[in-house]
Homo-oligomer: 741 residues x 2
């Protein structure tokens, strides 16, 4: 052939191949959506700003050049962070290329993919050996899956722009083997009902859609038929691996409750929601017949609302189970989730107010829709809720009581949450205007800070943060719930006794657990009263435990703030000793102790300019211990946070009752202490039997009775109490009146 | 006389008395100023807003009624807080009455004054006995003086509106005896060079002006000629009472340095500036011939600028000496000070930007001027400064080094600051964007929180907060500077060796002390480099001590934040013991210890999303101690803050050298750790003699020499160092170059 003929042939070939490429159905932005975006450029300021910002960042990175290093480091280290940066840049470059058509971004992706296609076939497993599923680019498959979720999108974005040879090279040397490694190559990673497998399925499924490989998509949706996994295998976090069901759809079934609660807690919900939604968007475009967003009564989109509800007034997620504090609705996953939920979920205008505070949108049709509709934003009103847990909604719940003035009481009585679950049945935490008043410790981990154990879980996460004594709930005989065994904990959950969240004046949730300790029933009833009822906001906590055998009971209070005063004497030691030797007790220094005389104990602290006073009933001989975290902490991994423990020894069935009053204010700028004293005089348990518990509450000028039914909650009740008959219908009776004395 | 005649006579009398009243020269808002305010109402939004807010508050209080209780409580208690509220309300009601002419406010003041006039003659000393100068309404004269400063203004405001009988009653039964009690009745309170006496003189002087009593004014300006005070008497804070000079003018001479530095520190400066300026305004109106604002080269107005310079980027004052953290330029005294400094001090437009952030103005001519000029506001640029201390400017100085990007290094080498001074010669603290990185503890006191020792100074203030080990400076042989003796400390101060604050790339201050320890000279040289010089911002600290006898040297570092990592091994104990038994050491738990091998020690911490690494040269056998505050703290008065100590035993003349690098970033929202490792490899002292100290600094890719002259700072220097000659002129030589190795 002469040169001209060759040229004509190559031109023909290129056009043919381009045509083939042009039949490609895009997974994230389909053709109609692309037109919609392009038509509206310049009309949606937040979209335009986001695009400009991302573009500027990409331009700087492209100018600086990139590196594709040989994998070596753990999280926080150079190779880890560089590969992480690379996939995020590729994903963004893909979106920007689609929207702007500027080839610069396509070239950037192609060149980087070529480098990866060159590197990947040479890689063995990552040299770090600590993961149950070692990756190739990263120390764990999970990060490899993060990479592929982004890169499959990036590849999809430039698919039509690449020529056939380029596509073939990238798919054969990189994407397909990468997806196979994460699925058939690692069934213990792929075939679970767990966030790891959600990432795996989304990565493999999106890759299947992007390269048109039906087998990959099928595996992603339905899991691997054969996996050869042992029924006893556990992952690094102590969770069982083997599951009866598998695949993406089974994960939607298994990981969310019918109320959209994600079993592991909001921190991991935030982490899993991205692959869940991204793969769903891909499926909606490529396989609309699946109606993925309607799957299981719209589970995926419903779960976004639930996730948002699990954030406090400042937008930080409640740090339930393994969770790093400070993770919030401003995380990029939430930008994605909010925009997708808005676009595919009925255009709820309260999501727009979240998008506004996030100050960024997705660079796709969902982000454009949000950007265009932003003026219609309505405030997100966080409400009191009881969110059922468990795939069938029968594994307890998460209760959130909220007042109109920014108080949030979080009551955890749901399922274990697998390997990231904490042994904290019936625990609670309490916020005021987004600040912690009674904290949940969260996890002992500094995510991606390499110096802190490679950025992974620290041993104190197991030895302290997961243990029951690390939480605001009852510890019996200094052992953790379920003896700290996740497999057993997974089988059980507490249950709701009753709730009333119908008005904010007085709200209540009551729940019981009968499995955390053998032959022991624990019942906690938490009330939240706003200041419309009494002068100040109150929480009332009644913790009842039923046991035939005598035990030691420890009820901790992880208050946050400055110790102000107590109404009891205490002794401080000359040397600080540890509170115990195991189950988390070895991490607590004993700063002070007291033996109570049976009258009420009161403790006042100051936090973020507000006073709080905890008033508790006591038995004569109860011990009060002031603890400080940090013992047996050889790498300074724990925060030196304070706590109190009310300890009752050698007791069978018994109850603990307390009130926490929020009162007054203090500012160091004007140095005025407003109402620094509690108005609560006492709380006493006056009757406590199988049927009823009756509390008497005295304040400076009021006196009241709180009676709680211990069974037949909805019935009519009659208690003869101190000579008078208390009559009521429903789970509780409360009356606080001016004291005439 | 028949009734008509009596009526005519009374009318005549009333008119005459009104006329007498109308000749009254007002002390805060004179007649021209009142016209100026009235003419401009509606023109200055911030003034109008402030007026509306104050008026609304007053209306609510007037509607609620007031109480004038019999004095009983300490600070924070009901009677204390009620009398405090009363005088603040009266002062504000006075201003609002003058401006609006609404008699409601005059009536409010009159009725309250009548109640006080009824109560005051019945009062003996306040029942609490802890003050060296017990008051009548309050536990200390100081609070009585606060009351009178406000009430004299309030009285002045309604002077013309009152009739003669009313005036006579209020003056004879309340104001005059009150002013006499605070002056001739309490010379130990009145006749000092101290903020207590500033309040006393202002109270007495303003009262003198308001009621036209020249003797009171004279006493206020010049003090009592005879006071019969002992030369040895001390106040509650351990400061000497007797002084050679006395009176308001002498206080201006004695309490401010020529640079406007207030001897006790910014916290008390903020407290004293209000009576200083208010009495000055009164004098400017009543005795313009005094030219009080020009007195001593304009000391008073100059000091406002100095006070503002002693606040960090967030507006919080540096907590030097006794100071509660969080006190800031948003305190009401500062609103007053800024407005007065603006009006009487040449209308500096940068003060307007402070007024803007304060969001309120004085309800007088100064506030109106600020309100009208607000659109001309220019930003306040906080600069590096060396502010001379001492009445003659010869008692050391306060050094503040600032970078363009929000870093502030505060170097304290001034006078003791009397009874509120801390024993912390040559100490420093370090801020980044207003957040503490290396903290000054401040004081051990919760001002006006009654539960905490009546809101007064706690014993831990003396036993810890004032002690040298509570600060970032050298402690020798576990004793505090001047053996903790204020009288001796008052006699001495460190001195400046050299400074260069001419450009922000590299700034330096060097100072020495020869009195804090007998026959020992301490020299500290602090450099601050911004990131234009090296990749990141650095502070370099060289602490040299000259001693013929061997000592133990402890150099503490009160870092704030989360411990990340060290480059050395350390041991943690099974039980926490105290670091010592006295001089503050008894309040520190020993959390970890290490013996250094003579190579560099490195310590990295994370604070407010930034990493910091401290790299220090060591001698073999140096000990490194990780301490935690809170030992011997029987009322939980101390914050459980962390610290490190580098300890060198049995050394004579020696030096400590360290670098603190600010690097990277971390956010829990995106969980990315950017540059979590220090680039500093080492800092070593390579030469250290009487003439020079030469440091070698190595980073990942650079190597440098920092040579410091130890005498003849401004001369030409030549050091033969490792075979080559270093030649330079001036106090130091610094060169950091690419490492070619």
């Amino acid at each position: 052939m002469n040169k001209n003929i060759i040229y004509v042939f190559l031109l023909f070939l290129a056009v043919t191949l381009k045509t083939i490429g042009q039949n490609h159905e895009h997974i994230i932005i389909n053709k109609e959506q692309l037109s919609y975006i392009k038509e509206n450029l310049g009309q949606a300021p937040l979209f335009d700003q986001t695009l400009a910002k991302v573009r500027a960042k990409l331009d700087a990175e492209i100018a600086a050049g990139f590196d594709v290093p040989i994998p070596k480091d753990l999280a926080g280290g150079y190779t880890h962070e560089t590969h992480r940066k690379n996939y995020l840049l590729m994903e963004q470059a893909g979106s920007v290329y689609r929207i702007t058509g500027d080839e610069k971004y396509a070239i950037f992706i192609k060149e980087m993919l070529f480098k990866y296609a060159e590197l990947y076939p040479t890689l063995d497993l990552h040299p770090a050996t600590r993961s149950y599923s070692r990756g190739k680019l990263f120390w764990q498959c999970l990060n490899d899956a993060n990479w592929l979720v982004s890169v499959s999108q990036a590849y999809d974005s430039i698919y039509e722009w690449l020529n056939n040879r380029e596509r073939k090279l990238i798919e054969a040397q990189l994407l397909k083997p990468f997806a196979e490694f994460l699925s058939t190559g690692n069934p213990q990673f792929f075939n679970r009902i767990h966030n790891h497998s959600t990432w795996a399925c989304a990565a493999v499924g999106l890759t299947g859609l992007a390269i048109g490989d039906e087998q990959l998509v099928k595996n992603a949706l339905y899991g691997l038929e054969e996996d050869g996994l042992s029924a006893k295998a556990h992952d690094n976090d102590g969770a069982l691996i083997k599951s009866d069901t598998k695949g993406f759809l089974a994960q939607i079934d298994g990981l969310f409750s019918p109320d959209g609660l994600y079993s592991e807690g909001p921190y991991y919900h935030r982490y899993a929601i991205y692959p869940f939604l991204l793969f769903a968007v891909g499926l909606e475009n490529a396989k609309p017949e699946l109606e993925i967003f309607k799957y299981r009564d719209g589970s995926l989109l419903k779960s976004v609302n639930t996730l948002l509800a699990e954030s406090n007034e400042k937008g930080d997620f409640f740090p339930l189970n393994d969770a790093q504090k400070g993770m919030s609705i401003y995380n990029s996953s939430l930008i994605s989730a909010v925009d997708i939920a808005y676009y595919y979920g009925g255009r709820n205008p309260s999501l727009l107010s979240i998008a506004k505070t996030q100050d960024a949108v997705n660079l796709d049709a969902t982000g454009m829709a949000v950007g265009l509709d932003l003026p219609k934003a309505e405030p997100l009103v966080r409400k009191s809720m009881v969110i059922k847990d468990g795939a069938n909604g029968d594994l307890g719940a998460l209760g959130i009581l909220r007042s109109g003035d920014g108080k949030e009481l979080i009551f955890k009585f749901g399922s274990q949450g697998m390997g990231h679950g904490h042994f904290d049945k019936l625990s609670y935490s309490f916020y005021n205007k987004g600040f912690e008043v009674v904290q949940d410790y969260g996890m002992a981990r500094f995510v991606n800070i390499e110096q802190k154990g490679g950025g992974g879980y620290l041993k104190e996460n197991t030895t302290f943060a997961k243990q029951t004594i690390g939480h605001n709930t009852l510890v019996i005989n200094e052992t953790s719930h379920f003896n700290g065994n996740t497999d057993i904990a997974e089988l059980h959950a507490p249950y709701l006794n009753f709730k009333d969240i119908s008005n904010t004046n007085i709200q209540v949730i009551s729940a019981s657990d009968t499995n955390a300790y053998e032959k022991i029933k624990m019942t906690r009833t938490l009330f939240m009263l706003d200041d419309s009822f009494f002068d100040n906001a109150l929480t009332i906590d009644l913790f009842k435990v039923n046991s035939e055998k005598p035990n030691q009971y420890d009820l901790p209070l992880y208050y946050q703030g400055q110790w102000i005063s107590t109404n009891f004497e205490y002794q401080i030691p000359d040397n600080l000793g540890k509170l115990g030797s195991a189950n988390g007790y070895q991490h607590i220094w004993k700063e002070a102790e007291s033996t109570l005389d049976g009258s009420n104990m009161q403790f006042t602290w100051l936090n973020q300019g507000k006073f709080y006073t905890y008033t508790a009933a006591s038995h004569q001989g109860d011990e009060l211990i002031a603890g400080r975290l940090g013992a047996t902490d050889s790498n300074f991994n724990l925060r030196r946070d304070p706590m109190l423990i009310q300890r009752r020894k050698n007791a069978t069935t018994t109850s603990f009752a307390s009130i926490t009053e929020t009162h007054g204010a203090y500012s160091p700028v004007d140095e005025k202490a407003i109402n620094p004293y509690s108005k609560i005089k006492s709380i006493n348990i006056e009757l406590d039997n199988e049927e009823f518990t009756v509390l008497r509450i005295k304040t400076d000028d009021k006196e009241g009775v709180l009676a709680i039914a211990n069974k037949d909650f909805d019935s009519k009740h009659l208690v003869n109490f101190k000579g008078t008959n208390l009559k009521w219908e429903g789970p509780y009776y409360f009356n606080l009146m001016e004291n005439k004395q």
